[in-house]
């Protein structure tokens, strides 16, 4: 199963072509990709930059779990989950999920499952920086 999974948590810039090339295969008919991008606003406030920090060793394990579950649950071929750490600017890419499959429906479902689950379970934390301060997202009621 391992040769069908690519997981990465890196302070470097994420590379879409790398994710695509990993999942692409002569036997697959389609590739669905979700690419997160840093937005310039949150609830009407202008975002200057973001910082992602992670419990790195556990985050990598959780990313692998998501990939393994996606491979079991959906009829897909390969899956890549790449996430960035550190400072990101507006327009930068915090996350890429790419899924290849013979059946596009399965690829859409697996990709959406993976990003939804990543946002629920992977120990990564986002701090948003505004003109007048900074805040850990989701931290307070």
């Amino acid at each position: 199963m391992e040769d069908r999974i690519s997981v990465l948590l890196t302070p470097k810039k994420l590379n879409q072509q790398k994710c695509y090339d990993f999942v692409q295969d002569a036997s697959c008919g389609g590739i669905v990709t979700f690419t997160g991008t840093v937005r310039n606003h949150t609830s009407g406030k202008e975002v200057k930059q973001l910082e992602f920090s992670a419990y790195t060793s556990m985050a990598v394990k959780e990313l692998i779990k998501i990939a393994e579950r996606a491979l079991k649950r959906f009829d897909i071929l390969k899956i890549a989950l790449h996430h960035a750490e550190g400072l990101l600017q507006v327009g930068d890419i915090p996350v890429i999920i790419a899924v290849s499959s013979s059946h596009r429906k399965a690829a859409f479902e697996a990709c959406e499952y993976a990003i939804n689950t990543l946002k629920e379970t992977v120990p990564i934390w986002k701090k948003e920086f505004f003109e007048d301060g900074e805040v850990w997202v989701n931290a307070h009621p």
Binding site: Y55, M58, N138
Partner: protein, 80 residues
């Protein structure tokens, strides 16, 4: 027993620590450990909610912490 505790995100800001070696006087479940933490770091009461991981896996409230465990306090995640 001694456990290694890891703090992340807003919890790190509240405790002012990245990690701490904590000595517990008795065996504790996660639920008991959470009460202990709230006494030790009262600021944690302001957090939305948090989960716990022991040795890099999520655990439930009734999990019993062992000597030398690495216990991470996981505030609400916000990756992606």
């Amino acid at each position: 027993m001694t456990i290694n505790t890891l703090f992340f995100g807003v919890v790190m800001d509240i405790t002012g620590l990245r990690k701490a070696a904590l000595t517990l006087e008795k065996e504790m479940t996660i639920r008991e450990f959470q009460e202990y933490l709230l006494e030790k770091y009262p600021g944690l009461i302001d957090i939305n909610n948090f989960a716990f991981a022991v040795n890099e896996s999520y655990v439930k409230d009734d999990f019993k912490i062992q000597d030398k465990d690495v216990v991470a306090i996981i505030p609400p995640v916000s990756g992606g």
